[in-house]
Protein backbone atom coordinates (compact mmCIF):
# COMPACT_ATOMS: atom_id res chain seq x y z
CA UNK A 1 0.00 0.00 0.00
CA UNK A 2 1.41 3.36 -0.91
CA UNK A 3 2.17 6.48 1.02
CA UNK A 4 -0.82 8.39 -0.37
CA UNK A 5 -3.20 5.72 0.96
CA UNK A 6 -1.59 5.96 4.41
CA UNK A 7 -2.10 9.70 4.44
CA UNK A 8 -5.68 9.33 3.33
CA UNK A 9 -6.30 6.80 6.13
CA UNK A 10 -4.61 9.09 8.69
CA UNK A 11 -6.82 12.00 7.65
CA UNK A 12 -9.99 9.88 7.84
CA UNK A 13 -9.01 8.61 11.30
CA UNK A 14 -8.38 12.14 12.52
CA UNK A 15 -11.82 13.26 11.32
CA UNK A 16 -13.59 10.20 12.75
CA UNK A 17 -12.00 10.78 16.16
CA UNK A 18 -12.98 14.45 15.90
CA UNK A 19 -16.64 13.39 15.59
CA UNK A 20 -17.36 12.55 11.94
CA UNK A 21 -18.20 8.99 12.93
CA UNK A 22 -19.91 8.00 9.68
CA UNK A 23 -16.58 8.21 7.85
CA UNK A 24 -15.66 4.95 9.57
CA UNK A 25 -17.66 3.17 6.85
CA UNK A 26 -15.24 4.52 4.22
CA UNK A 27 -12.16 3.83 6.30
CA UNK A 28 -12.90 0.15 6.80
CA UNK A 29 -14.12 -0.65 3.28
CA UNK A 30 -10.73 -1.55 1.77
CA UNK A 31 -9.98 -3.84 4.72
CA UNK A 32 -13.17 -5.93 4.55
CA UNK A 33 -11.93 -8.59 2.18
CA UNK A 34 -8.52 -9.21 3.81
CA UNK A 35 -10.15 -9.31 7.28
CA UNK A 36 -12.65 -11.91 6.14
CA UNK A 37 -10.11 -14.01 4.26
CA UNK A 38 -7.66 -14.05 7.15
CA UNK A 39 -10.40 -15.12 9.54
CA UNK A 40 -11.73 -17.69 7.12
CA UNK A 41 -8.19 -19.06 6.85
CA UNK A 42 -8.04 -19.43 10.63
CA UNK A 43 -11.58 -20.58 11.37
CA UNK A 44 -12.45 -22.40 8.12
CA UNK A 45 -16.12 -21.71 8.54
CA UNK A 46 -17.96 -18.97 6.65
CA UNK A 47 -20.47 -18.04 9.34
CA UNK A 48 -17.86 -18.04 12.12
CA UNK A 49 -15.47 -15.98 9.96
CA UNK A 50 -18.20 -13.44 9.22
CA UNK A 51 -19.11 -13.13 12.90
CA UNK A 52 -15.45 -12.72 13.83
CA UNK A 53 -15.01 -10.14 11.04
CA UNK A 54 -17.85 -8.05 12.48
CA UNK A 55 -16.37 -8.32 15.98
CA UNK A 56 -12.98 -7.28 14.60
CA UNK A 57 -14.40 -4.22 12.89
CA UNK A 58 -16.20 -3.12 16.07
CA UNK A 59 -12.93 -3.54 18.01
CA UNK A 60 -11.13 -1.47 15.39
CA UNK A 61 -13.72 1.28 15.87
CA UNK A 62 -13.63 1.29 19.66
CA UNK A 63 -9.82 1.19 19.71
CA UNK A 64 -9.25 3.62 16.86
CA UNK A 65 -7.73 6.21 19.21
CA UNK A 66 -4.98 3.67 19.97
CA UNK A 67 -3.76 3.45 16.37
CA UNK A 68 -0.36 5.11 16.35
CA UNK A 69 0.30 5.30 12.65
CA UNK A 70 3.67 3.54 12.94
CA UNK A 71 2.33 0.74 10.72
CA UNK A 72 -0.15 0.70 7.86
CA UNK A 73 -3.73 0.95 9.07
CA UNK A 74 -4.57 -2.29 7.27
CA UNK A 75 -1.69 -4.10 9.00
CA UNK A 76 -2.96 -2.94 12.39
CA UNK A 77 -6.50 -4.03 11.50
CA UNK A 78 -5.28 -7.45 10.39
CA UNK A 79 -3.39 -8.03 13.63
CA UNK A 80 -6.64 -7.31 15.49
CA UNK A 81 -8.43 -9.77 13.19
CA UNK A 82 -5.76 -12.37 13.78
CA UNK A 83 -6.04 -12.00 17.57
CA UNK A 84 -9.81 -12.29 17.32
CA UNK A 85 -9.47 -15.47 15.28
CA UNK A 86 -6.84 -17.03 17.55
CA UNK A 87 -8.91 -16.16 20.62
CA UNK A 88 -11.89 -18.00 19.15
CA UNK A 89 -9.76 -21.02 18.31
CA UNK A 90 -8.48 -21.15 21.88
CA UNK A 91 -12.02 -20.93 23.23
CA UNK A 92 -13.17 -23.89 21.23
CA UNK A 93 -10.13 -25.86 22.36
CA UNK A 94 -8.27 -25.48 19.08
CA UNK A 95 -9.38 -28.09 16.68
CA UNK A 96 -6.05 -27.66 14.98
CA UNK A 97 -2.83 -27.34 16.92
CA UNK A 98 -0.87 -25.88 14.03
CA UNK A 99 -2.83 -22.65 13.89
CA UNK A 100 -1.76 -21.63 17.38
CA UNK A 101 1.84 -22.52 16.80
CA UNK A 102 2.64 -19.99 14.15
CA UNK A 103 6.35 -20.16 14.87
CA UNK A 104 6.69 -23.74 13.77
CA UNK A 105 8.21 -23.92 10.30
CA UNK A 106 9.19 -27.56 10.44
CA UNK A 107 5.85 -29.02 9.53
CA UNK A 108 6.19 -31.96 7.24
CA UNK A 109 5.10 -31.73 3.68
CA UNK A 110 6.39 -32.54 0.26
CA UNK A 111 7.68 -29.48 -1.49
CA UNK A 112 8.82 -31.27 -4.63
CA UNK A 113 6.86 -29.91 -7.58
CA UNK A 114 4.71 -31.98 -9.88
CA UNK A 115 7.04 -32.89 -12.72
CA UNK A 116 5.81 -31.87 -16.14
CA UNK A 117 7.49 -31.64 -19.47
CA UNK A 118 5.23 -28.99 -20.93
CA UNK A 119 2.67 -26.53 -19.71
CA UNK A 120 -0.07 -24.86 -21.64
CA UNK A 121 -1.19 -21.71 -19.88
CA UNK A 122 -4.65 -21.62 -18.35
CA UNK A 123 -6.09 -18.13 -18.81
CA UNK A 124 -8.03 -16.50 -15.97
CA UNK A 125 -11.08 -16.49 -18.27
CA UNK A 126 -11.25 -20.23 -17.58
CA UNK A 127 -12.45 -19.22 -14.09
CA UNK A 128 -15.85 -18.60 -15.63
CA UNK A 129 -16.18 -22.33 -15.11
CA UNK A 130 -17.15 -22.60 -11.46
CA UNK A 131 -15.60 -26.04 -11.33
CA UNK A 132 -12.13 -24.52 -11.76
CA UNK A 133 -12.65 -22.00 -8.94
CA UNK A 134 -13.83 -24.87 -6.72
CA UNK A 135 -10.68 -26.89 -7.44
CA UNK A 136 -8.48 -23.89 -6.56
CA UNK A 137 -10.42 -23.20 -3.36
CA UNK A 138 -10.18 -26.81 -2.29
CA UNK A 139 -6.40 -26.83 -2.85
CA UNK A 140 -5.95 -23.69 -0.74
CA UNK A 141 -8.29 -25.02 1.97
CA UNK A 142 -6.16 -28.15 2.05
CA UNK A 143 -2.95 -26.30 2.92
CA UNK A 144 -1.76 -26.34 6.54
CA UNK A 145 -2.86 -23.14 8.31
CA UNK A 146 0.58 -21.49 8.42
CA UNK A 147 0.82 -21.75 4.63
CA UNK A 148 -2.81 -20.96 3.88
CA UNK A 149 -2.82 -17.56 5.55
CA UNK A 150 0.35 -16.55 3.69
CA UNK A 151 -1.24 -17.43 0.34
CA UNK A 152 -4.40 -15.52 1.24
CA UNK A 153 -2.57 -12.36 2.27
CA UNK A 154 0.35 -12.38 -0.13
CA UNK A 155 -0.98 -13.96 -3.31
CA UNK A 156 -4.70 -13.31 -3.04
CA UNK A 157 -4.75 -9.92 -1.31
CA UNK A 158 -1.42 -9.02 -2.93
CA UNK A 159 0.10 -7.60 0.23
CA UNK A 160 3.87 -7.21 0.11
CA UNK A 161 6.28 -9.37 2.12
CA UNK A 162 6.75 -6.71 4.79
CA UNK A 163 3.08 -6.11 5.41
CA UNK A 164 2.31 -9.84 5.43
CA UNK A 165 5.07 -10.36 8.01
CA UNK A 166 3.76 -7.53 10.18
CA UNK A 167 0.14 -8.70 10.03
CA UNK A 168 1.06 -12.26 11.01
CA UNK A 169 3.79 -11.22 13.46
CA UNK A 170 6.45 -13.38 11.84
CA UNK A 171 9.76 -12.49 10.16
CA UNK A 172 10.02 -11.58 6.49
CA UNK A 173 12.27 -14.61 6.04
CA UNK A 174 9.52 -16.86 7.39
CA UNK A 175 7.01 -15.31 4.98
CA UNK A 176 9.31 -16.11 2.04
CA UNK A 177 9.95 -19.69 3.16
CA UNK A 178 6.27 -20.38 3.76
CA UNK A 179 5.20 -18.71 0.56
CA UNK A 180 7.66 -20.83 -1.38
CA UNK A 181 6.41 -24.03 0.25
CA UNK A 182 2.79 -23.05 -0.19
CA UNK A 183 3.23 -22.35 -3.89
CA UNK A 184 5.15 -25.60 -4.33
CA UNK A 185 2.38 -27.56 -2.61
CA UNK A 186 -0.28 -25.84 -4.72
CA UNK A 187 1.62 -26.52 -7.94
CA UNK A 188 2.02 -30.16 -6.91
CA UNK A 189 -1.67 -30.61 -6.18
CA UNK A 190 -3.07 -28.41 -8.92
CA UNK A 191 -0.90 -28.83 -12.01
CA UNK A 192 -2.15 -32.36 -12.82
CA UNK A 193 -5.79 -31.31 -12.30
CA UNK A 194 -5.54 -28.01 -14.14
CA UNK A 195 -4.27 -29.48 -17.37
CA UNK A 196 -7.83 -30.37 -18.26
CA UNK A 197 -8.69 -26.65 -18.34
CA UNK A 198 -6.04 -25.69 -20.88
CA UNK A 199 -7.58 -24.16 -23.99
CA UNK A 200 -7.58 -26.38 -27.03
CA UNK A 201 -4.82 -25.41 -29.40
CA UNK A 202 -5.48 -25.06 -33.09
CA UNK A 203 -3.62 -27.71 -34.98
CA UNK A 204 -2.33 -27.61 -38.52
CA UNK A 205 -4.84 -26.96 -41.28
CA UNK A 206 -7.20 -25.25 -38.83
CA UNK A 207 -8.23 -28.46 -37.13
CA UNK A 208 -8.37 -29.02 -33.38
CA UNK A 209 -6.42 -31.72 -31.68
Amino acid sequence: MDHAKSQLDAELIRRILAGEKLLFHDLIRSCERPIYLLLYSLLRNEAEAEDAAQETVIKVYTNLHLFRGDSQFRTWVLSIARNEGLGRLRKIGSRREDSLDAGNDDQGGDFTPAILTSWREIPTTALEQSELAAILRKAIDGLPEIYRNIVLLRDIEEMDIRETAAALEISEGAVKVRLHRARAMLQRVLAPQLKAFAPRRKGLFGGFR
Partner: protein, 79 residues
Protein backbone atom coordinates in the same frame (compact mmCIF):
# COMPACT_ATOMS: atom_id res chain seq x y z
CA UNK B 1 29.08 -24.14 -11.91
CA UNK B 2 25.84 -25.25 -13.53
CA UNK B 3 22.92 -25.43 -11.13
CA UNK B 4 20.69 -28.48 -11.07
CA UNK B 5 16.89 -28.81 -11.16
CA UNK B 6 16.44 -29.09 -7.38
CA UNK B 7 18.40 -25.88 -6.93
CA UNK B 8 16.11 -24.14 -9.43
CA UNK B 9 12.98 -25.42 -7.64
CA UNK B 10 14.25 -23.99 -4.35
CA UNK B 11 14.25 -20.53 -5.87
CA UNK B 12 11.11 -20.65 -8.00
CA UNK B 13 8.95 -18.60 -5.67
CA UNK B 14 11.60 -15.88 -5.25
CA UNK B 15 12.25 -15.98 -9.00
CA UNK B 16 8.57 -15.36 -9.72
CA UNK B 17 8.58 -12.43 -7.29
CA UNK B 18 11.74 -10.95 -8.86
CA UNK B 19 13.46 -11.49 -5.53
CA UNK B 20 16.69 -13.22 -6.68
CA UNK B 21 19.97 -11.42 -7.34
CA UNK B 22 21.24 -10.87 -10.87
CA UNK B 23 23.83 -13.67 -10.77
CA UNK B 24 21.35 -16.29 -9.59
CA UNK B 25 18.73 -15.10 -12.06
CA UNK B 26 21.24 -15.49 -14.91
CA UNK B 27 22.08 -19.04 -13.78
CA UNK B 28 18.41 -19.98 -13.55
CA UNK B 29 17.67 -18.45 -16.96
CA UNK B 30 20.52 -20.42 -18.47
CA UNK B 31 19.21 -23.63 -16.92
CA UNK B 32 15.66 -22.92 -18.12
CA UNK B 33 16.85 -22.58 -21.70
CA UNK B 34 17.77 -26.23 -21.85
CA UNK B 35 15.55 -27.86 -19.20
CA UNK B 36 11.98 -28.42 -20.31
CA UNK B 37 11.01 -29.88 -16.93
CA UNK B 38 12.05 -26.78 -14.98
CA UNK B 39 10.47 -24.53 -17.62
CA UNK B 40 7.17 -26.38 -17.21
CA UNK B 41 7.44 -26.31 -13.41
CA UNK B 42 8.08 -22.57 -13.48
CA UNK B 43 5.28 -21.86 -15.97
CA UNK B 44 2.76 -23.97 -14.08
CA UNK B 45 3.71 -22.46 -10.71
CA UNK B 46 3.39 -18.94 -12.10
CA UNK B 47 0.08 -19.88 -13.68
CA UNK B 48 -1.20 -21.29 -10.36
CA UNK B 49 -0.17 -18.08 -8.54
CA UNK B 50 -2.08 -15.97 -11.08
CA UNK B 51 -5.19 -18.17 -10.95
CA UNK B 52 -5.47 -18.29 -7.14
CA UNK B 53 -5.15 -14.48 -7.04
CA UNK B 54 -8.31 -14.06 -9.08
CA UNK B 55 -11.20 -12.57 -7.11
CA UNK B 56 -13.58 -15.22 -8.41
CA UNK B 57 -11.76 -17.92 -6.42
CA UNK B 58 -12.58 -16.54 -2.98
CA UNK B 59 -15.69 -14.44 -2.93
CA UNK B 60 -17.12 -12.82 0.17
CA UNK B 61 -20.39 -14.45 1.30
CA UNK B 62 -23.44 -12.84 -0.32
CA UNK B 63 -24.58 -9.84 1.75
CA UNK B 64 -21.40 -9.81 3.85
CA UNK B 65 -20.65 -6.15 3.28
CA UNK B 66 -24.26 -5.02 3.83
CA UNK B 67 -24.52 -6.90 7.14
CA UNK B 68 -21.15 -5.56 8.25
CA UNK B 69 -22.11 -1.94 7.59
CA UNK B 70 -25.47 -2.41 9.30
CA UNK B 71 -23.61 -3.66 12.36
CA UNK B 72 -21.29 -0.63 12.17
CA UNK B 73 -24.36 1.64 12.02
CA UNK B 74 -25.76 0.07 15.19
CA UNK B 75 -22.41 0.55 16.93
CA UNK B 76 -22.07 4.16 15.78
CA UNK B 77 -25.57 4.92 17.02
CA UNK B 78 -24.63 3.74 20.51
CA UNK B 79 -21.25 5.44 20.74
Amino acid sequence: MRIDCKHVWQHISAYIDGDVDAALRAEIDLHLETCEICSAVLDSTRNVVILVADERVFELPAGFSRRLHERIDRELAQS
